[in-house]
């Protein structure tokens, strides 16, 4: 699979990334190279094979619904890049 710089841009937008224009060409080339290698998966006969999402035991894990103490806003917001009292702040969304 060959990836164009337009596709890199599209993926970057979906992932909320901004690829430096000087890197776009190289990134497209590297991703193409990697995805071309990954194309070998097409050679595997997967007819009727189930999907595995991991090696964990496939069972529900339940617990009692018990009250516990909340760590509180000072702990929860301790790493906030910007805050206003007990709220995170972000750039204005509605303009």
């Amino acid at each position: 699979m060959k990836i164009s710089t337009d596709e890199v841009e599209k993926m970057a937008h979906l992932a909320r990334l901004e690829i430096d224009p000087s890197q776009k060409e190289k990134m497209a080339e590297q991703l193409s190279h990697i995805l071309q290698y990954i194309d070998k998966l097409k050679d595997v006969d997967v007819q009727g094979v189930k999907l595995s999402s991991g090696a964990a035991f496939m069972q529900n894990v339940l617990r009692e619904d018990e009250l516990a103490v909340s760590p509180g806003p000072d702990v929860t917001l301790a790493n906030a890049p910007q805050r206003d009292g007990d709220f995170y702040t972000v750039p204005r969304v509605v303009k």
């Binding site: 990334l17 995805l35 991991g54 906030a80």
Partner: protein, 490 residues
């Protein structure tokens, strides 16, 4: 006696016998770090005061005969494990100022066992890499030869143990990140079964593949640490509800022929992998012969889907990464770009300035593979191939107790040699990725040296929850070769 040469086992003995104090031992390591780590670059954070405070407390516990398994023993942690009040960076600019408000479960367990946390070690950013060159903080050097990489992604932990900056360390392994650096640095590295150890407080890279495990000087130390960190945890629903045996029981009296009754499988597909270094081949052949002398029956087995492991892995891991790393958006913690007043711009600038290139590359691959129209062809198909890989292993373990293989196709490479070629770097993970894909345990034990004097390990993999067989076989290798007594000259 040189303090820094103490293993967990010998340090404990000296501490209990009051031959040394934990403060003396911790100071000896701190001085060594100060002398040599500017050069090696194993640590991102060393908190002297905090370490000595813990050591003082340990000495009081020892004086009061209030002993636990690791009382007073200095341990280092990969900087991907959350430590309450101590900076945890994941070697990324995006978490440069991040101070966790809680301890990861393994960290709590170490503290409850009396360990002294001496510092946080370097890694490839978010554990994405095989050389520790993809760190936003520094490049870690191999203590055996500083022109070479220590492997990765737990390169800082492996280098710290090899350089004897601590008694032992914890690493994490998503595709070989404990076993490969352990092999390159001449130390023991154990990736436990998926679910054996709680991942709570481990910053997720690929949740279905990640596991925390020990990097140690000896196989016995790996068993001791595994005893401490294993077990079900209500905070991690994927942690297994299975009994935890005393892993040190695997180290019985060692003698010639003591592994009699065990069967080792060698996958025929591994022998035809392209580009295996002659030194690795020699060490592997010698190991095979050694196991035969120890009474192990060697059998050829088949893992038919070996050729597809790297391709399937480099879809599944980036897919999970692109989802896991979406949380670093500059809102709740970590770095935020403040140069713009638009929310979308803020997200994009934060992520692009915060993440390194390899992380961005993997996020893009994952985003692509999960996007509309491509999901079935990539993620779906890779997950089916994963099933086939798991079945290969289940079948193989019907006829053998463990699988013997090289850890990496070549010894450590020179710093800077592979940085611009991601696919070539991915292909070097061929022998280690399967254990993560199948959720089985794997161990790397030192087994020889390259012609340039760089360490080379061998890998053993066993069926799920059978770390015991790995420790037993690994102890056989260690007792025969005695390479745990050979230290690099810093």
């Amino acid at each position: 006696m040189e303090y820094h040469e103490l293993t967990i086992g010998s340090a404990q003995k000296h501490l209990i016998d009051r031959k040394i104090s934990s403060v003396e031992l911790t100071n000896a390591f701190l001085e060594r770090i100060e002398t040599y780590d500017d050069d090696i670059g194993a640590f991102i954070t060393v908190d002297k005061e905090l370490a000595l405070e813990q050591a003082k407390k340990a000495d009081m516990d020892i004086a009061g005969n209030n002993l636990s398994v690791l009382t007073g023993v200095p341990i280092a942690l990969k900087d991907l494990l959350c430590t309450k009040g101590m900076r945890t960076t994941c070697a990324s600019k995006i978490l440069d100022n991040f101070v966790p408000q809680y301890d990861g479960t393994v960290v709590s367990k170490l503290k409850e066992s009396g360990a002294v946390i001496i510092g946080k070690t370097n890694l490839d950013e978010f554990a994405m890499g095989s050389s520790t060159e993809n760190s936003s903080c520094k490049v870690t050097k191999n203590p055996w030869n500083k022109a070479y990489v220590p492997g990765g992604s737990s390169g800082g932990s492996a280098a710290a143990v090899a350089a004897r900056f601590c008694c032992a360390a914890l690493g994490t392994d998503t595709g070989g990140s404990i076993r490969q650096p352990a092999s390159h640095c001449g130390v023991v590295g154990l990736k436990p079964t998926y679910g054996r150890v709680s991942r709570f407080g481990l910053v997720s890279y690929a949740s279905s593949l990640d596991q925390i495990g020990p990097i140690t000087q000896t196989v016995r130390d790996a068993a001791v640490l595994l005893n401490v960190i294993s077990g079900n945890d209500p905070m991690d629903s994927t942690s297994a509800r299975v009994d935890v045996p005393d892993f040190t029981a695997a180290m019985g009296q060692f003698e010639k022929g003591s592994l009699k009754g065990m069967t080792a499988g060698i996958p025929k597909e591994y022998l035809s992998v392209d580009g295996i270094d002659p030194d690795v081949e020699r060490v592997f052949k010698d190991a095979k012969k050694m196991f035969q002398d120890l009474g192990v029956e060697i059998k050829e087995i088949s893992l038919p889907h070996t050729d597809y492991v790297v391709a399937a892995y480099y879809i599944i891991a980036p897919c999970e990464a692109s989802s896991n790393l979406a949380r670093f958006d500059g809102v709740k913690y970590g770095f935020r770009d403040t140069t713009c007043d638009d929310l979308m711009e803020m997200y994009k600038k934060t992520k692009s300035k915060g993440f390194g290139l390899e992380v961005q590359r993997r996020i893009l691959i994952g985003t692509y593979a999960l996007s509309a129209g491509y999901y079935d062809a990539y993620y779906g198909r890779a997950s089916q191939v994963r099933t086939l890989i798991m079945e290969d292993f289940s079948k193989a373990f019907e006829t053998c107790d463990f699988i013997l293989s090289p850890v990496a196709p070549a010894p450590a490479f020179k710093i800077g040699e592979n940085v611009d070629d991601p696919l070539t770097m991915y292909l070097t993970d061929i022998f280690t990725l399967s254990a993560n894909m199948a959720g089985i345990p794997g161990i790397s034990v030192p087994a020889g040296y390259s012609s340039k004097g760089l360490p080379i390990g061998i890998q053993m993999m066993a069926k799920r929850f059978d770390e015991m067989s790995l420790l037993r076989a690994g102890y056989g290798v260690e007792q025969t070769l005695q390479l745990d007594k050979v230290l690099p000259n810093l």
